[in-house]
Amino acid sequence: MSDDTDPETGFYALPGDLMMWILIISELIVFGAGLMAFMAVRLTDPQGFTAAQGHLDATAAGINTIVLVTSGWLAALAQRAGAAGQVARVRLLLASAAALGALFLWIKMQEYAAKSAIGIDFETHPFFTFYYLLTGFHALHVVAGIVILALVGWKATPRNLEVGTAFWHMVDLVWVLLFPIIYLLR
């Protein structure tokens, strides 16, 4: 029988809040299923998917990847500063992380606007149905993450920092899987 208090495998071994991990795992399952569905449907029309993908700006998405992982790094530094009781530094780092999150969203909006300008929407091709669903759902998580970072900066306790930054890192994790599968695979 498993022991919840085992320091290596028990629930208490997980860094941060158990409920946040349940949320993280739930989100990963949803995005993982979406990405696998994308890969499976791609089998029905590989050439069509590659042609549709040609309308995406992989460079902008690559820049967005750097923006988001840098934001995650700042959030990780904020968590460590929080553990050291450096509240002013925590707030500066979280504000910087949130600002990079906003930059990610701005670049994403430019990308959507460029698609819209040439008449690409949800129904143009199954590729774009997945593209809008997956990247749009991810962008909503970025919005939620920015709100959470702001709240955590306001109430900057070590526990709040651990939980709030874990959500932000989950957003990072989803993007590092979503970016290559949607934008780069041909």
Partner: protein, 83 residues
């Protein structure tokens, strides 16, 4: 690995993925290379940013599930290349 080392590794691996795309490579081997880089990035986020390196048992569990997901994605990428 510290958070800063993890960030540097993520930037380098992300740059590698984007360079492959810029290079314009296609085919199964390129797809497998891109997915392998994504796999490495996900492991770094899990272990360094999310702190699973402090919980080895959970880290192994997440690594197993991530590995199954990535192998599934690689299998579908290979299948797409064969269509």
């Amino acid at each position: 690995m510290t958070a800063t080392q993890g960030w540097l590794a993520l930037v380098i691996l992300s740059g590698g993925s984007t360079l492959i795309a810029w290079w314009g490579g296609t085919g199964v081997l390129v797809a497998l290379a891109i997915l392998t880089l994504a796999w490495a990035k996900a492991q770094i986020v899990l272990n360094v940013y999310l702190g699973l390196s402090e919980a080895p048992g959970w880290s192994r569990g997440f690594a197993l599930v991530l590995g199954l997901f990535m192998l599934g994605a690689m299998g579908l990428a290979v299948a797409a290349g064969a269509v």
